[in-house]
Amino acid sequence: MSNGMPPSRDDAPPGHPRGRTWNRAGDDPDPSVPALEVDDLTVAYREQPVLWDVDLRIRQGSATAIVGPNGAGKTTLIRSILGLVPRAAGRVRILGSPLEDVRRQVAYVPQRGSVDWDFPTSVEDVVLMGTYGHLGWFRRPGKREREAARRALERVEMAAFAHRQISELSGGQQQRVFLARALVQEARVHFLDEPFQGVDARTERSIMDVLHELRDRGDTVIAVHHSLQTVPEYFDGVVLLNVRLIAAGPVDAVFTDENLRTAYGGRIPYRSPTSPTSPPPPGASPAAGPPPPLEG
């Protein structure tokens, strides 16, 4: 489940967006630097805390789920890390640097429902939006960008839809287009907000395959996830959140009855494979002390 050393980037198969068409910003980061460091992060809406004093370490080359009940602040956690929500306090480092310095290493897949899918544009155009950050003002996507967009669409099995109007897509297809738009950014740390929402099982599978490939390549995948059942299968690590950080670490260490009860307020929508016999591992006690670091 938890994979060891991240594999070398050099064995990236040709044709993958990681073929680095243009994103030469920053050489390969030191693999010992955490992909994400969050210290004392607090976010509030109108005095009401949405996230309270969250500390987090996520190592490179891992796939991590952010789980918790509704209103736990999962989406807010991602959005505040990405600077979309103002932080009341706290510090965030991505690949050891402030977001401003590593924007080109960061990809974002927002919730599917966050945009108007009746917008007059094509699938290819939406994917090309992932190249705008590299292009800079005034420059238009050219042949290179279109080629990269085509490859990204192939990765998510949507190449045949490149010229389709986006309002004609099903929910799963929309989600895959958003994933392709993130792939084309050629980033190293990928944030996804509910990538499986309203998606059928087959699409979920194929999205997860893409995310696992990214991880196996040494990229970092961090996703808000809703189904506790699939966490052990899909992810290496898990962040259990309910305004405060309940626990974070490898899935078996975090998914204890006690942690889940703390997060979900007694009603556990999931029985951990280790329950009820095995005691919670040390360091995984709820909301006490610093959470176990995800990296070694």
């Binding site: 108007d116 917008f119 544009t121 705008y132 950050g133 929910g171």
Partner: protein, 321 residues
């Protein structure tokens, strides 16, 4: 050549100037209006144009001049102030945007009307004609006015073309742009400024009361006919230009017919036809498609998936995956 509309439009100097000016105003408002429509900011155009009225009156009050550039500058200033005011209200209070726009619209318009009434009582006749800004009078366009519209409008459209992908991203997914480090706030400022320019340039022709219709109507009509943003903007510009020219001509038919209502009537006609008859998005088309699907289901050949239908149609019928 005598009689007939087209010959007069091409031979009569005044009509040519007026037609050119009104057409340019329509093209500018129509093309930029697409973004107001897609960003669901149609009311913003209304607020800006109403907020421009006190600017026109104040500009005249302070300078005593009725020259178009002076009045347009005044209009742009208060139109802009109004927009900033709405943005500030939305950011710092719990008043939602539509309420803020509604408040701004009526307050600024009221102030403008009071100022106009005050000016009408003035001792000289110099203020005569300011009230044409209420409903527009294309016949008052001079050659230099048209040159102003063409040059400023040309710059506005050039800026739009240069910032095309940023503006598109702003309209579709602003936050995705922010994460990529694109200064979306500045893009928003640019696009809003261009819309303000388009609106104040059109006030003399269309008037503050109905200007927003020329912003929204061509865009709404164009959206019915195409699924490409580029084609939509070009088509809306063309429809706006057509409504401008046609409305200007209509207003010259009878003495004192205000241009604004004439233009807006034409534009609304185009919208009505588009909503009804456009392929795929039109109401008639929808009816026909629904009947066909129902017939197929009744014939027993239909499965819930309806494989012969495009996925989009499945979605609209409440199926989907």
């Amino acid at each position: 050549m005598d009689g007939g509309f087209l010959p007069a439009l091409f031979t009569d100097h005044t009509l040519r100037v007026v037609g050119l000016g009104a057409g340019a105003v329509g093209a500018l408002a129509g093309s930029l209006g697409c973004f107001a429509l897609l960003r669901r900011q149609s009311l913003l155009g209304d607020a800006v144009s109403h907020a421009a009225l006190p600017g026109i009156a104040l500009a005249f009050l302070l300078t005593g001049s009725r020259a178009t550039p002076v009045l347009v500058l005044g209009a742009a200033l208060t139109g802009w102030l109004g927009t900033l005011f709405v943005m500030a209200v939305v950011r710092h209070s719990r008043i939602p945007e539509d309420s803020a726009l509604g408040i701004l619209l009526s307050v600024f318009f009221g102030v403008g009307l009071v100022l106009l009434t005050f000016l009408q009582r003035g001792p000289t006749a110099a203020q005569a004609g300011l009230d044409t800004f209420l409903f527009g009078q294309a016949a008052t366009l001079l050659v230099q006015d048209v040159i102003l519209v063409l040059s400023l409008g040309g710059v506005a459209l050039l800026l739009l073309a240069l910032s095309w992908k940023e503006v598109k991203l702003l309209a579709f997914d602003r936050e995705f742009g922010r994460v990529q480090g694109i200064p979306m706030g500045r893009v928003d400022l640019l696009l809003t400024s261009l819309l303000v320019v388009a609106i104040v340039l059109g006030l003399q022709t269309v008037g503050v009361v109905l200007m927003s219709a020329l912003v929204v109507a061509p865009a709404a009509a164009a959206r019915q006919w195409t699924d490409s943003l580029g084609r939509m903007v070009i088509l809306a510009g063309a429809l706006g230009a057509g409504a401008g020219v046609g409305g200007a001509w209509m207003s010259t038919l009878g003495d004192g017919i205000p241009t604004g209502p004439a233009i807006v009537l034409l534009a609304s006609g185009v919208v009505a036809v588009s909503i009804l008859a456009a392929p795929r998005r039109g109401v008639l088309w929808d009816r026909i498609r629904r009947r066909r699907v129902r017939a197929r289901l009744a014939a027993g050949g239909g499965t819930p998936g309806m494989p012969s239908e495009a996925p989009g149609e499945r979605e609209r019928l409440g199926g989907g995956d």
